[in-house]
Symmetry: C2
Subunit: 385 residues, 2 copies
């Protein structure tokens, strides 16, 4: 398999984009990535999207968006893995280039979530859980993560204040990201006094409903420097693992097995350990998720993720900054786009182009994108040239 | 890239499977394919599915179905391209094995369409068309193909009787397929007297709404004979092309550009011409579709596809049997599963295991799977060992 690099990134300002349709949002990000790469064509395109059927009544996005790109009748493939759709679309694009099939491949993600009301959006998101054993009976995603949070607090003594610390940190990071949906600081008290959604999770523990897209361009590493003016960022590892969809089938509600397995495989591929990481972009769909993810990634010992944000270890300036972009919590979470936006952040950090949120001397970056309550996880590791 | 072979196939009896859920249907086909291959594990799994969100309220099928397989937390990836979802899932599985990433990969397709009423099924299928410019305004899929049929009749003199001949032929083939949904003969008169759906298309011009699944196992060609007792079938070509999603953006309503492009690329990869084909499995979602597809594949000259079924050229025993399985028309059309079932038929034919519908001395087989009104097409060519 060939070594693969990312040479272009694009993303639009995320939020409630009522004046723009899914195709318009996607095209902005896609063309920005192509422009940033400096290429005049792409050979194939992938798009991660969770549920455009339920959100906007449109499936068949591969063909629709390949046509919007206006670069010929190229293969356009949609990949879906709930909130990990973007990360998995990136992985398929990596496989495409690594295999030798195509040289210039566009990996994208998009979700248009605010054309339906909040109840319908919650119902659409519930299709990431087990329909027969979970969502049919009325449980929502905040409900499922609320149970995981209770299990983590019970087993490991994780505190309400530690959950809040994740929101406080990520919103602080988000103030440094001009494309974030909610780039404002919040205090622990504000988080804890915000409206209760599913005990113990409050509205400021939850990532928002967002419209947005992101795109990146992949090429063979050995062709990268002849194609682009930017330093190419090498994809050092790609790993994908699954777990049971329904929480009741897992041994431990407070542990993310798919993230542990994907991360372990990714570290082996890249030949590094968590100690080597300069930063991570992880799937903080709820504050408890970031706490559990950093444990499964080996950044914090099992059961000790709660102290990550509280102690400052995972803040910008700390030992391993987690979610310098603001994460899903502040940047927003258009579910299909999130995994690609994580890659964009990793590339900007490793190029040294992350502006006010730049991690100093960043060399190794990791992205972790997760579907549902962790039934699927995609992990990628990137290296500075 | 490595040469890849198919060594196992599985499919359940298709129809209105009200007593079985999506996961149960899928698991039957998946385990049959694994059993047929004779392997004791798979390294990764792909599933093609168009719209499980709208049909059964369940996205995130990759994780769900990988877990159902009970072969460990393997990568499970859902691919969607409307009615070409199965063909595209097969192509991603081929890419996975060809790249060297995994050795034993399961490619599957599934759709559970009859849990909703007919109107909701028609609405779900309409998400394969352009939501903003076509389906929003009320056009249905029979309506779109009705327009294509009128254009073809106007431009090329295709007759009502020629449309009927496709249905008559495919239902005759279907009587030889024990897994077909509607394995009964129909006459041209019955087709022409059946209820009008969208002029000129009548109900017997349309493929049915179906529950079903299919699965195949892919391995590197050089490992195939050590893994299985069956003669391995080589994948000689894989091609994927797109077109504009909305009909109004095309130069000619009566021509399938994406199929022409994918076929042309596939013939070049395999080093053959249409003259070499022993049989084809093509996307006859409506009778007019088969007529247009055999033109775009080069089996009939442009504008002359209408005479294919009428003259007997495309029947079993004819020069190039088209849809020996009964096609979508008689076998059924669970949209995400169709592309995989086509591959199963090609493999059985090339193994010489197709029973009463066996094409004599079959050496080269082609599958053509199409999304929407042809906005995406996936073509594969297979060779007998």
């Amino acid at each position: 398999m060939r070594d693969v690099a990312v040479i272009g990134v694009g993303m639009n300002r995320w939020g409630e984009l009522w004046k723009k349709s899914l195709r318009a949002i996607w095209t902005e990000a896609a063309l920005e990535a192509v422009d940033d790469a400096g290429v005049d064509h792409v050979d194939a395109m992938y798009v991660g999207c969770m549920s455009s059927g339920l959100f906007v009544g449109q499936e068949h996005l591969g063909a629709l968006l390949a046509d919007q790109l206006s670069m010929g009748p190229i293969p356009g493939t949609r990949v879906e893995s709930a909130c990990a759709s973007g990360g998995l679309a990136f992985r398929q694009a990596w496989m495409d280039v690594a295999s030798g099939l195509h040289d210039i491949v566009l990996a994208t993600g998009v979700e248009k979530m605010t054309d339906v009301d909040g109840g319908a959006a919650t119902d659409a998101l519930a299709t990431a859980a087990d329909q027969e054993y979970e969502s049919y009976h009325g449980v929502t995603f905040p409900g499922l993560y609320g149970m995981m949070a209770h299990a983590h607090m019970h087993e490991h003594g994780t505190t309400r204040r530690q959950l809040s610390a994740v929101a406080v940190k990520n919103h602080r990071h988000g103030t440094l990201n001009p494309l974030a949906q909610f780039p404002m600081e919040v205090t622990a008290e504000q988080v804890e006094e915000s409206v209760l959604v599913a005990d113990p999770l409050r509205i400021l523990d939850c990532s928002p409903i967002t419209d947005g897209a992101a795109a990146v361009v992949l090429v063979p590493l050995e062709q990268a420097s002849s194609l682009t003016k930017h330093p190419p960022v090498r994809i050092a590892a790609s790993a994908h693992a699954t777990d049971s969809l329904a929480l009741h089938d897992r041994d431990d509600l407070a542990w993310l097995g798919s993230t542990e397995r994907a991360a372990s495989e990714a570290y082996a591929q890249a030949g590094i350990t968590p100690e080597n990481l300069s930063f991570c972009e992880v799937h903080d769909c709820f504050t408890i998720a970031e706490i559990m993810v950093i444990e499964a990634l080996g950044i914090a010992p099992r059961g000790c993720g709660g102290s990550g944000a509280e102690s400052g270890v995972t803040a910008l300036g700390g030992k391993v900054p987690v979610n310098p972009s603001g994460g899903l919590k502040s940047k927003g979470h258009p579910v299909g786009a999130t995994g690609i936006a994580q890659v964009r952040e990793a590339v900007l950090q490793l190029r040294g182009q992350a502006g006010d949120r730049q991690v100093r001397d960043a060399r190794w970056g990791l992205t972790q994108n997760m579907g549902g309550t962790g039934a699927s996880t995609v992990v990628h590791i990137f290296e500075r040239p």
